[in-house]
Protein backbone atom coordinates (compact mmCIF):
# COMPACT_ATOMS: atom_id res chain seq x y z
CA UNK A 1 0.00 0.00 0.00
CA UNK A 2 2.79 2.37 0.94
CA UNK A 3 4.74 1.33 -2.12
CA UNK A 4 1.67 2.00 -4.27
CA UNK A 5 1.45 5.57 -2.97
CA UNK A 6 5.15 6.15 -3.47
CA UNK A 7 4.98 4.99 -7.09
CA UNK A 8 1.93 7.15 -7.74
CA UNK A 9 3.43 10.26 -6.16
CA UNK A 10 6.87 9.82 -7.68
CA UNK A 11 5.51 9.74 -11.21
CA UNK A 12 3.33 12.79 -11.95
CA UNK A 13 1.91 11.13 -15.07
CA UNK A 14 0.44 8.29 -12.97
CA UNK A 15 -1.19 10.84 -10.72
CA UNK A 16 -2.65 12.66 -13.73
CA UNK A 17 -3.93 9.31 -15.00
CA UNK A 18 -5.65 8.54 -11.71
CA UNK A 19 -7.23 12.00 -11.66
CA UNK A 20 -8.47 11.70 -15.26
CA UNK A 21 -9.92 8.23 -14.70
CA UNK A 22 -11.54 9.37 -11.45
CA UNK A 23 -13.02 12.34 -13.31
CA UNK A 24 -14.47 10.12 -16.05
CA UNK A 25 -15.75 7.41 -13.70
CA UNK A 26 -17.26 9.80 -11.15
CA UNK A 27 -18.98 11.91 -13.78
CA UNK A 28 -20.39 8.74 -15.36
CA UNK A 29 -21.69 7.49 -12.01
CA UNK A 30 -23.10 10.81 -10.85
CA UNK A 31 -24.20 11.99 -14.30
CA UNK A 32 -27.72 12.68 -13.03
CA UNK A 33 -26.40 15.19 -10.50
CA UNK A 34 -23.60 16.76 -12.53
CA UNK A 35 -25.29 17.23 -15.89
CA UNK A 36 -27.04 20.63 -16.01
CA UNK A 37 -29.68 19.25 -18.39
CA UNK A 38 -30.14 15.53 -17.63
CA UNK A 39 -33.16 15.28 -19.94
CA UNK A 40 -30.94 16.20 -22.91
CA UNK A 41 -29.51 12.70 -23.04
CA UNK A 42 -32.71 11.63 -24.84
CA UNK A 43 -34.57 12.93 -27.87
CA UNK A 44 -35.18 16.48 -26.75
CA UNK A 45 -35.57 19.26 -29.28
CA UNK A 46 -34.93 22.88 -28.37
CA UNK A 47 -34.74 24.78 -31.66
CA UNK A 48 -34.49 28.16 -29.97
CA UNK A 49 -31.04 27.24 -28.62
CA UNK A 50 -29.72 25.08 -31.46
CA UNK A 51 -26.04 25.08 -32.46
CA UNK A 52 -24.94 27.66 -29.90
CA UNK A 53 -21.27 28.29 -29.20
CA UNK A 54 -20.05 27.70 -25.63
CA UNK A 55 -21.59 30.22 -23.22
CA UNK A 56 -22.47 30.61 -19.56
CA UNK A 57 -25.53 28.29 -19.68
CA UNK A 58 -24.11 25.70 -22.07
CA UNK A 59 -20.41 25.63 -21.25
CA UNK A 60 -19.64 23.39 -24.23
CA UNK A 61 -22.32 24.81 -26.50
CA UNK A 62 -25.39 23.01 -27.88
CA UNK A 63 -25.82 20.54 -30.70
CA UNK A 64 -27.91 20.79 -33.88
CA UNK A 65 -31.21 20.24 -32.10
CA UNK A 66 -30.38 22.46 -29.14
CA UNK A 67 -29.24 19.86 -26.60
CA UNK A 68 -26.55 20.77 -24.06
CA UNK A 69 -23.27 19.17 -25.21
CA UNK A 70 -21.75 19.02 -21.72
CA UNK A 71 -24.69 17.01 -20.42
CA UNK A 72 -24.56 14.65 -23.38
CA UNK A 73 -20.81 14.09 -23.03
CA UNK A 74 -21.22 13.15 -19.39
CA UNK A 75 -23.90 10.62 -20.27
CA UNK A 76 -21.75 9.37 -23.15
CA UNK A 77 -19.00 8.59 -20.62
CA UNK A 78 -21.50 6.34 -18.89
CA UNK A 79 -22.23 4.43 -22.12
CA UNK A 80 -18.52 4.14 -22.96
CA UNK A 81 -17.61 2.84 -19.51
CA UNK A 82 -20.47 0.34 -19.39
CA UNK A 83 -19.44 -0.89 -22.81
CA UNK A 84 -15.79 -1.16 -21.79
CA UNK A 85 -16.56 -2.97 -18.55
CA UNK A 86 -18.99 -5.42 -20.17
CA UNK A 87 -16.65 -6.17 -23.08
CA UNK A 88 -13.68 -6.78 -20.79
CA UNK A 89 -15.80 -8.72 -18.29
CA UNK A 90 -16.67 -11.17 -21.07
CA UNK A 91 -13.52 -11.12 -23.20
CA UNK A 92 -11.01 -11.45 -20.35
CA UNK A 93 -12.32 -14.69 -18.80
CA UNK A 94 -12.77 -16.32 -22.23
CA UNK A 95 -9.31 -15.33 -23.42
CA UNK A 96 -7.72 -16.20 -20.08
CA UNK A 97 -9.22 -19.70 -19.98
CA UNK A 98 -8.26 -20.41 -23.59
CA UNK A 99 -4.70 -19.18 -23.09
CA UNK A 100 -4.30 -20.88 -19.72
CA UNK A 101 -5.29 -24.36 -20.88
CA UNK A 102 -3.52 -24.05 -24.24
CA UNK A 103 -0.35 -22.97 -22.46
CA UNK A 104 -0.44 -25.51 -19.65
CA UNK A 105 -1.92 -28.62 -21.28
CA UNK A 106 -0.02 -28.25 -24.56
CA UNK A 107 -0.26 -30.87 -27.32
CA UNK A 108 -3.45 -31.03 -29.37
CA UNK A 109 -5.36 -28.71 -27.02
CA UNK A 110 -2.70 -26.07 -27.54
CA UNK A 111 -2.74 -26.53 -31.30
CA UNK A 112 -6.51 -26.24 -31.68
CA UNK A 113 -7.02 -23.36 -29.27
CA UNK A 114 -4.08 -21.27 -30.45
CA UNK A 115 -4.77 -21.74 -34.18
CA UNK A 116 -8.35 -20.62 -33.50
CA UNK A 117 -6.93 -17.60 -31.70
CA UNK A 118 -4.59 -16.91 -34.62
CA UNK A 119 -7.53 -16.90 -37.02
CA UNK A 120 -9.22 -14.20 -34.96
CA UNK A 121 -5.99 -12.26 -34.57
CA UNK A 122 -5.32 -12.31 -38.31
CA UNK A 123 -8.51 -10.36 -39.08
CA UNK A 124 -8.08 -6.62 -38.56
CA UNK A 125 -10.20 -5.93 -35.47
CA UNK A 126 -12.23 -3.05 -36.82
CA UNK A 127 -12.97 -4.97 -40.03
CA UNK A 128 -14.23 -7.95 -38.04
CA UNK A 129 -16.44 -5.70 -35.95
CA UNK A 130 -17.76 -3.91 -39.04
CA UNK A 131 -18.52 -7.25 -40.69
CA UNK A 132 -20.38 -8.43 -37.59
CA UNK A 133 -22.29 -5.20 -37.31
CA UNK A 134 -23.21 -5.46 -40.98
CA UNK A 135 -24.96 -8.74 -40.26
CA UNK A 136 -26.38 -7.78 -36.88
CA UNK A 137 -28.56 -4.79 -36.06
CA UNK A 138 -26.57 -1.79 -34.88
CA UNK A 139 -27.48 -1.67 -31.20
CA UNK A 140 -25.44 -1.15 -28.04
CA UNK A 141 -25.78 -4.85 -27.28
CA UNK A 142 -24.46 -5.94 -30.66
CA UNK A 143 -21.67 -3.38 -30.54
CA UNK A 144 -20.54 -4.99 -27.28
CA UNK A 145 -20.77 -8.42 -28.88
CA UNK A 146 -18.69 -7.36 -31.88
CA UNK A 147 -15.99 -5.74 -29.77
CA UNK A 148 -15.88 -8.76 -27.44
CA UNK A 149 -15.43 -11.14 -30.37
CA UNK A 150 -12.32 -9.27 -31.45
CA UNK A 151 -10.94 -8.73 -27.99
CA UNK A 152 -10.62 -12.13 -26.31
CA UNK A 153 -7.83 -13.46 -28.59
CA UNK A 154 -5.42 -10.84 -27.22
CA UNK A 155 -5.96 -12.19 -23.73
CA UNK A 156 -5.56 -15.75 -24.98
CA UNK A 157 -2.21 -14.80 -26.50
CA UNK A 158 -1.01 -12.95 -23.40
CA UNK A 159 -2.01 -15.64 -20.90
CA UNK A 160 -0.78 -18.41 -23.21
CA UNK A 161 2.73 -16.97 -23.22
CA UNK A 162 2.84 -16.58 -19.44
CA UNK A 163 1.36 -20.02 -18.83
CA UNK A 164 3.94 -21.61 -21.11
CA UNK A 165 6.82 -20.20 -19.15
CA UNK A 166 5.16 -20.90 -15.77
CA UNK A 167 4.65 -24.53 -16.84
CA UNK A 168 8.42 -25.01 -16.54
CA UNK A 169 8.51 -23.73 -12.95
CA UNK A 170 9.24 -26.11 -10.10
CA UNK A 171 5.95 -25.47 -8.32
CA UNK A 172 4.03 -26.86 -11.30
CA UNK A 173 6.17 -30.03 -11.26
CA UNK A 174 5.61 -30.26 -7.50
CA UNK A 175 1.83 -30.10 -7.98
CA UNK A 176 1.99 -32.66 -10.79
CA UNK A 177 4.05 -35.06 -8.70
CA UNK A 178 1.55 -34.70 -5.87
CA UNK A 179 -1.16 -35.56 -8.39
CA UNK A 180 -3.21 -32.35 -8.40
CA UNK A 181 -5.83 -32.13 -11.17
CA UNK A 182 -5.27 -30.13 -14.36
CA UNK A 183 -7.96 -27.55 -13.45
CA UNK A 184 -6.34 -27.12 -10.04
CA UNK A 185 -2.89 -26.55 -11.50
CA UNK A 186 -4.17 -24.21 -14.22
CA UNK A 187 -6.58 -22.17 -12.10
CA UNK A 188 -5.09 -22.24 -8.60
CA UNK A 189 -1.36 -22.49 -9.28
CA UNK A 190 -0.67 -20.82 -12.65
CA UNK A 191 -3.52 -18.29 -12.94
CA UNK A 192 -2.50 -16.26 -9.85
CA UNK A 193 0.87 -15.74 -11.52
CA UNK A 194 -0.83 -14.38 -14.64
CA UNK A 195 -3.13 -11.94 -12.81
CA UNK A 196 -0.79 -8.91 -12.62
CA UNK A 197 -0.34 -8.95 -16.40
CA UNK A 198 -4.06 -9.50 -16.98
CA UNK A 199 -5.10 -6.64 -14.69
CA UNK A 200 -2.62 -4.29 -16.32
CA UNK A 201 -3.83 -5.18 -19.78
CA UNK A 202 -7.46 -4.72 -18.71
CA UNK A 203 -6.79 -1.17 -17.57
CA UNK A 204 -4.88 -0.31 -20.73
CA UNK A 205 -7.64 -1.92 -22.78
CA UNK A 206 -10.42 0.18 -21.21
CA UNK A 207 -9.01 3.05 -23.24
CA UNK A 208 -8.71 1.02 -26.43
CA UNK A 209 -12.22 -0.43 -26.12
CA UNK A 210 -13.56 3.11 -25.76
CA UNK A 211 -11.71 4.11 -28.94
CA UNK A 212 -12.92 1.09 -30.91
CA UNK A 213 -16.50 1.56 -29.71
CA UNK A 214 -16.29 5.23 -30.66
CA UNK A 215 -14.91 4.28 -34.07
CA UNK A 216 -17.84 1.94 -34.60
CA UNK A 217 -20.39 4.57 -33.71
CA UNK A 218 -18.45 7.16 -35.72
CA UNK A 219 -19.16 4.87 -38.69
CA UNK A 220 -22.80 4.69 -37.64
CA UNK A 221 -22.48 1.02 -36.61
CA UNK A 222 -22.47 1.39 -32.86
CA UNK A 223 -24.74 3.04 -30.37
CA UNK A 224 -27.68 4.67 -32.16
CA UNK A 225 -29.20 8.13 -31.60
CA UNK A 226 -30.69 9.57 -29.50
CA UNK A 227 -28.42 7.75 -27.01
CA UNK A 228 -25.37 10.00 -26.56
CA UNK A 229 -22.10 8.47 -27.71
CA UNK A 230 -18.77 10.19 -28.13
CA UNK A 231 -18.04 8.59 -31.50
CA UNK A 232 -21.37 9.48 -33.11
CA UNK A 233 -21.18 13.00 -31.67
CA UNK A 234 -17.83 13.51 -33.40
CA UNK A 235 -19.28 12.08 -36.63
CA UNK A 236 -22.32 14.39 -36.54
CA UNK A 237 -20.23 17.46 -35.81
CA UNK A 238 -17.58 16.70 -38.43
CA UNK A 239 -19.89 17.97 -41.17
CA UNK A 240 -20.05 21.41 -39.56
CA UNK A 241 -16.33 22.00 -39.11
CA UNK A 242 -14.75 24.44 -38.73
CA UNK A 243 -17.65 26.84 -37.99
CA UNK A 244 -19.34 24.80 -35.27
CA UNK A 245 -16.05 23.50 -33.88
CA UNK A 246 -17.45 22.75 -30.43
CA UNK A 247 -19.58 19.91 -31.86
CA UNK A 248 -16.44 17.84 -32.56
CA UNK A 249 -13.74 19.31 -30.36
CA UNK A 250 -15.43 18.63 -27.00
CA UNK A 251 -16.49 15.02 -27.66
CA UNK A 252 -13.05 14.46 -29.17
CA UNK A 253 -11.39 15.85 -26.08
CA UNK A 254 -13.63 13.64 -23.95
CA UNK A 255 -12.39 10.55 -25.81
CA UNK A 256 -8.83 11.76 -25.38
CA UNK A 257 -9.27 12.26 -21.62
CA UNK A 258 -10.77 8.82 -21.09
CA UNK A 259 -8.24 6.95 -23.23
CA UNK A 260 -5.24 8.89 -21.99
CA UNK A 261 -6.33 8.46 -18.37
CA UNK A 262 -6.75 4.69 -18.62
CA UNK A 263 -3.43 4.34 -20.41
CA UNK A 264 -1.56 6.24 -17.73
CA UNK A 265 -3.25 4.23 -14.98
CA UNK A 266 -2.40 1.03 -16.85
CA UNK A 267 1.26 2.01 -16.96
CA UNK A 268 1.24 2.84 -13.25
CA UNK A 269 -0.47 -0.45 -12.47
CA UNK A 270 2.17 -2.33 -14.41
CA UNK A 271 4.79 -0.81 -12.18
CA UNK A 272 2.84 -1.39 -8.97
CA UNK A 273 2.00 -5.02 -9.71
CA UNK A 274 5.43 -5.68 -11.16
CA UNK A 275 3.86 -7.22 -14.25
CA UNK A 276 6.89 -6.51 -16.41
CA UNK A 277 9.27 -8.43 -14.20
Amino acid sequence: MKRTLVILLRNPLSLIGVILVALVVLSAIFADFIAPFPEHRGSVVDFVNFNKAPNATNIMGTDLVGRDLFSRIIYAFRISLVLGVVVLAIATPIGTLVGLFAGYVGGKTEFILMRLTDVFLSIPPLVLAIAMMGVLEPTLMNAMLAVTAMWWPWYARLVYNIARSEREEGYVLAAEVIGASTPHIALREILPNCLPAILTKMTLDMGFVIIIASSLSFLGLGVQPPTPDLGSMVAEGARYLPDSWWLTVFPGLAILIAVFGFNLVGDALREILGADQ
Binding site: E169, G170, Y171, L173, A174, A175, E176, V177, I178, G179, A180, R188, E189, P192, N193, L195
Partner: protein, 268 residues
Amino acid sequence: MTPLLSLKNVSKTFGHGDHIVQAVRDVSFDVMPGECLAVVGESGSGKTTLANMILGVFGQSSGELWFDGKPLPTRRTLEHRSAIQLVQQNPLSSLNPKRSVGASVRLGLDVYGIGSPSDRWSLVEAALEEVGLPRDFRKRPPAALSGGQRQRVAIARALACQSRLVVLDEPTSALDVLVQARVLRLLNDLRAAKGLSYVFITHDLSVVRNVADRVAVFKSGQLVECAETGAIFENPREDYTRQLIGAVPVVTREEIELRNTLATEGQT
Protein backbone atom coordinates in the same frame (compact mmCIF):
# COMPACT_ATOMS: atom_id res chain seq x y z
CA MET B 1 13.48 -57.99 3.39
CA THR B 2 11.46 -56.72 0.39
CA PRO B 3 13.04 -53.66 -1.19
CA LEU B 4 10.84 -50.56 -1.03
CA LEU B 5 11.76 -49.55 -4.56
CA SER B 6 13.17 -51.84 -7.19
CA LEU B 7 14.33 -50.97 -10.70
CA LYS B 8 14.70 -53.92 -13.05
CA ASN B 9 16.53 -53.32 -16.36
CA VAL B 10 14.98 -49.88 -16.76
CA SER B 11 15.78 -47.90 -19.92
CA LYS B 12 14.50 -44.61 -21.24
CA THR B 13 14.93 -43.18 -24.73
CA PHE B 14 13.80 -39.79 -25.95
CA GLY B 15 13.09 -38.64 -29.50
CA HIS B 16 12.58 -40.76 -32.60
CA GLY B 17 14.18 -41.50 -35.95
CA ASP B 18 17.74 -40.27 -36.17
CA HIS B 19 17.51 -38.22 -33.02
CA ILE B 20 17.29 -40.93 -30.42
CA VAL B 21 18.85 -40.10 -27.07
CA GLN B 22 19.25 -42.96 -24.65
CA ALA B 23 19.00 -41.14 -21.32
CA VAL B 24 18.93 -44.21 -19.07
CA ARG B 25 20.27 -47.59 -20.15
CA ASP B 26 19.44 -50.93 -18.53
CA VAL B 27 19.56 -49.80 -14.92
CA SER B 28 18.77 -52.09 -12.00
CA PHE B 29 19.01 -51.32 -8.30
CA ASP B 30 17.04 -51.64 -5.04
CA VAL B 31 16.27 -49.16 -2.31
CA MET B 32 15.60 -50.80 1.04
CA PRO B 33 13.14 -49.42 3.60
CA GLY B 34 14.93 -46.78 5.66
CA GLU B 35 17.87 -46.64 3.30
CA CYS B 36 19.41 -43.60 1.69
CA LEU B 37 20.74 -44.34 -1.77
CA ALA B 38 22.81 -41.58 -3.32
CA VAL B 39 22.72 -41.29 -7.09
CA VAL B 40 25.79 -39.46 -8.32
CA GLY B 41 27.12 -38.57 -11.73
CA GLU B 42 27.97 -35.58 -13.86
CA SER B 43 25.35 -33.42 -15.58
CA GLY B 44 23.59 -35.33 -18.33
CA SER B 45 24.27 -38.72 -16.79
CA GLY B 46 20.54 -39.46 -16.56
CA LYS B 47 20.02 -38.71 -12.88
CA THR B 48 17.00 -36.46 -13.34
CA THR B 49 15.46 -38.78 -15.96
CA LEU B 50 15.73 -41.54 -13.41
CA ALA B 51 14.05 -39.36 -10.77
CA ASN B 52 11.21 -38.50 -13.15
CA MET B 53 10.55 -42.16 -13.87
CA ILE B 54 10.50 -43.01 -10.17
CA LEU B 55 8.06 -40.13 -9.62
CA GLY B 56 5.86 -41.12 -12.55
CA VAL B 57 6.36 -37.86 -14.46
CA PHE B 58 6.87 -40.09 -17.49
CA GLY B 59 7.09 -43.82 -18.03
CA GLN B 60 10.13 -45.96 -18.78
CA SER B 61 10.77 -47.20 -22.33
CA SER B 62 11.52 -50.71 -21.12
CA GLY B 63 12.09 -52.56 -17.87
CA GLU B 64 10.04 -52.57 -14.68
CA LEU B 65 9.67 -50.52 -11.52
CA TRP B 66 8.48 -52.24 -8.36
CA PHE B 67 7.32 -50.55 -5.19
CA ASP B 68 6.86 -52.41 -1.93
CA GLY B 69 6.72 -55.77 -3.67
CA LYS B 70 4.19 -54.71 -6.36
CA PRO B 71 4.73 -53.44 -9.91
CA LEU B 72 4.58 -49.67 -10.20
CA PRO B 73 2.43 -48.53 -13.14
CA THR B 74 3.21 -45.38 -15.12
CA ARG B 75 -0.29 -44.08 -14.40
CA ARG B 76 0.07 -43.77 -10.67
CA THR B 77 -2.72 -44.20 -8.20
CA LEU B 78 -3.03 -41.59 -5.45
CA GLU B 79 -1.55 -44.10 -2.97
CA HIS B 80 1.58 -44.42 -5.09
CA ARG B 81 1.80 -40.66 -5.50
CA SER B 82 1.48 -39.98 -1.78
CA ALA B 83 4.09 -42.64 -0.99
CA ILE B 84 6.71 -41.27 -3.39
CA GLN B 85 7.44 -37.56 -3.00
CA LEU B 86 9.90 -35.06 -4.37
CA VAL B 87 12.13 -32.30 -3.02
CA GLN B 88 13.57 -30.19 -5.81
CA GLN B 89 16.85 -28.41 -6.23
CA ASN B 90 15.70 -24.82 -6.43
CA PRO B 91 13.49 -23.75 -3.52
CA LEU B 92 12.94 -20.41 -5.28
CA SER B 93 10.85 -21.99 -8.00
CA SER B 94 9.48 -25.07 -6.25
CA LEU B 95 7.08 -23.01 -4.14
CA ASN B 96 4.37 -20.99 -5.88
CA PRO B 97 5.25 -17.32 -5.27
CA LYS B 98 1.57 -16.32 -5.27
CA ARG B 99 0.42 -18.83 -2.68
CA SER B 100 1.16 -18.99 1.00
CA VAL B 101 3.66 -21.52 2.26
CA GLY B 102 0.83 -23.29 4.08
CA ALA B 103 -1.27 -23.61 0.92
CA SER B 104 1.65 -25.31 -0.82
CA VAL B 105 2.11 -27.79 2.02
CA ARG B 106 -1.64 -28.41 2.23
CA LEU B 107 -2.04 -29.35 -1.45
CA GLY B 108 -1.07 -32.98 -0.89
CA LEU B 109 -3.39 -33.30 2.09
CA ASP B 110 -6.30 -32.08 -0.06
CA VAL B 111 -5.44 -34.32 -3.00
CA TYR B 112 -5.01 -37.49 -0.89
CA GLY B 113 -7.78 -36.66 1.59
CA ILE B 114 -5.46 -36.87 4.59
CA GLY B 115 -7.26 -35.72 7.74
CA SER B 116 -10.63 -33.96 7.76
CA PRO B 117 -10.75 -30.60 5.95
CA SER B 118 -11.00 -28.74 9.24
CA ASP B 119 -7.92 -30.49 10.68
CA ARG B 120 -5.69 -29.91 7.70
CA TRP B 121 -4.33 -26.53 8.73
CA SER B 122 -3.15 -27.94 12.03
CA LEU B 123 -1.56 -30.87 10.16
CA VAL B 124 0.21 -28.33 7.97
CA GLU B 125 1.45 -26.48 11.04
CA ALA B 126 2.62 -29.73 12.57
CA ALA B 127 4.55 -30.53 9.39
CA LEU B 128 6.19 -27.10 9.48
CA GLU B 129 7.12 -27.65 13.11
CA GLU B 130 8.65 -30.99 12.24
CA VAL B 131 11.10 -29.34 9.87
CA GLY B 132 11.97 -26.69 12.44
CA LEU B 133 9.83 -23.81 11.26
CA PRO B 134 7.43 -21.82 13.46
CA ARG B 135 3.74 -22.63 13.06
CA ASP B 136 2.81 -19.11 11.99
CA PHE B 137 4.99 -19.43 8.87
CA ARG B 138 1.96 -21.07 7.28
CA LYS B 139 0.48 -17.72 6.29
CA ARG B 140 3.67 -16.27 4.84
CA PRO B 141 4.46 -16.00 1.14
CA PRO B 142 7.62 -17.83 0.00
CA ALA B 143 9.25 -14.46 -0.71
CA ALA B 144 9.35 -13.78 3.04
CA LEU B 145 11.52 -16.88 3.65
CA SER B 146 15.22 -17.51 3.18
CA GLY B 147 16.49 -20.21 0.83
CA GLY B 148 17.05 -22.68 3.64
CA GLN B 149 13.62 -22.03 5.12
CA ARG B 150 12.01 -22.54 1.73
CA GLN B 151 13.82 -25.84 1.34
CA ARG B 152 12.47 -26.85 4.74
CA VAL B 153 8.97 -26.00 3.51
CA ALA B 154 9.54 -28.20 0.45
CA ILE B 155 10.60 -31.02 2.79
CA ALA B 156 7.52 -30.43 4.93
CA ARG B 157 5.38 -30.64 1.81
CA ALA B 158 6.86 -34.03 0.96
CA LEU B 159 6.48 -35.34 4.52
CA ALA B 160 2.93 -34.08 5.06
CA CYS B 161 1.85 -36.51 2.34
CA GLN B 162 2.84 -39.42 4.60
CA SER B 163 5.46 -40.41 2.07
CA ARG B 164 7.69 -43.46 2.42
CA LEU B 165 10.20 -42.69 -0.30
CA VAL B 166 11.47 -39.18 -0.99
CA VAL B 167 13.35 -38.36 -4.16
CA LEU B 168 15.75 -35.58 -3.25
CA ASP B 169 16.90 -33.91 -6.47
CA GLU B 170 20.02 -31.98 -5.45
CA PRO B 171 18.22 -30.60 -2.39
CA THR B 172 21.20 -28.71 -1.04
CA SER B 173 23.09 -27.53 -4.11
CA ALA B 174 21.25 -24.18 -4.24
CA LEU B 175 22.02 -23.45 -0.57
CA ASP B 176 25.13 -22.01 1.01
CA VAL B 177 27.44 -24.29 2.99
CA LEU B 178 26.16 -23.51 6.48
CA VAL B 179 22.53 -23.94 5.48
CA GLN B 180 23.45 -27.08 3.54
CA ALA B 181 24.78 -28.73 6.67
CA ARG B 182 21.63 -27.89 8.63
CA VAL B 183 19.30 -29.18 5.93
CA LEU B 184 21.33 -32.41 5.64
CA ARG B 185 21.15 -32.85 9.37
CA LEU B 186 17.38 -32.34 9.25
CA LEU B 187 17.04 -34.89 6.46
CA ASN B 188 19.09 -37.42 8.45
CA ASP B 189 16.97 -36.87 11.57
CA LEU B 190 13.70 -37.20 9.68
CA ARG B 191 14.85 -40.39 8.02
CA ALA B 192 15.74 -41.94 11.35
CA ALA B 193 12.54 -40.76 13.03
CA LYS B 194 10.13 -41.84 10.32
CA GLY B 195 11.93 -44.75 8.70
CA LEU B 196 11.95 -42.96 5.35
CA SER B 197 13.89 -44.05 2.29
CA TYR B 198 15.73 -41.51 0.20
CA VAL B 199 16.91 -41.48 -3.36
CA PHE B 200 19.42 -38.67 -2.99
CA ILE B 201 20.45 -37.26 -6.36
CA THR B 202 23.53 -35.11 -6.27
CA HIS B 203 26.79 -34.34 -7.97
CA ASP B 204 28.38 -33.26 -4.71
CA LEU B 205 30.30 -36.22 -3.28
CA SER B 206 31.14 -34.41 -0.05
CA VAL B 207 27.40 -34.36 0.68
CA VAL B 208 27.09 -38.05 -0.12
CA ARG B 209 29.55 -39.04 2.56
CA ASN B 210 27.35 -37.46 5.25
CA VAL B 211 24.00 -38.92 4.33
CA ALA B 212 24.13 -41.97 2.09
CA ASP B 213 24.20 -45.65 3.04
CA ARG B 214 24.95 -46.70 -0.50
CA VAL B 215 26.06 -44.88 -3.62
CA ALA B 216 25.04 -45.53 -7.22
CA VAL B 217 27.42 -43.98 -9.73
CA PHE B 218 25.97 -43.04 -13.12
CA LYS B 219 27.76 -42.32 -16.33
CA SER B 220 25.95 -41.55 -19.62
CA GLY B 221 22.78 -43.23 -18.47
CA GLN B 222 24.46 -46.36 -17.17
CA LEU B 223 24.99 -47.57 -13.66
CA VAL B 224 28.75 -48.07 -13.47
CA GLU B 225 29.13 -48.86 -9.79
CA CYS B 226 26.83 -49.37 -6.82
CA ALA B 227 28.28 -50.04 -3.38
CA GLU B 228 28.34 -49.06 0.30
CA THR B 229 29.36 -45.44 0.81
CA GLY B 230 32.55 -46.33 2.68
CA ALA B 231 33.62 -48.79 0.01
CA ILE B 232 33.05 -46.27 -2.76
CA PHE B 233 35.26 -43.68 -1.13
CA GLU B 234 37.98 -45.99 0.10
CA ASN B 235 38.11 -48.50 -2.67
CA PRO B 236 36.43 -47.29 -5.87
CA ARG B 237 36.42 -50.03 -8.47
CA GLU B 238 35.76 -47.94 -11.55
CA ASP B 239 37.98 -45.28 -13.06
CA TYR B 240 35.03 -42.98 -13.46
CA THR B 241 34.21 -43.15 -9.76
CA ARG B 242 37.83 -42.31 -8.99
CA GLN B 243 37.60 -39.30 -11.27
CA LEU B 244 34.44 -38.14 -9.55
CA ILE B 245 36.01 -38.46 -6.12
CA GLY B 246 39.11 -36.70 -7.40
CA ALA B 247 36.92 -33.84 -8.62
CA VAL B 248 35.65 -33.02 -5.12
CA PRO B 249 36.90 -29.53 -4.37
CA VAL B 250 39.34 -29.44 -1.50
CA VAL B 251 37.67 -27.81 1.46
CA THR B 252 39.48 -25.94 4.19
CA ARG B 253 39.96 -27.56 7.58
CA GLU B 254 37.77 -24.90 9.19
CA GLU B 255 34.95 -25.79 6.87
CA ILE B 256 35.23 -29.49 7.61
CA GLU B 257 35.30 -28.80 11.33
CA LEU B 258 32.29 -26.51 11.03
CA ARG B 259 30.34 -29.15 9.15
CA ASN B 260 31.26 -31.84 11.63
CA THR B 261 30.31 -29.69 14.61
CA LEU B 262 26.97 -28.89 13.05
CA ALA B 263 26.34 -32.49 12.15
CA THR B 264 27.14 -33.83 15.59
CA GLU B 265 25.86 -31.13 17.89
CA GLY B 266 22.41 -31.22 16.35
CA GLN B 267 22.16 -27.55 15.67
CA THR B 268 19.21 -26.89 13.35
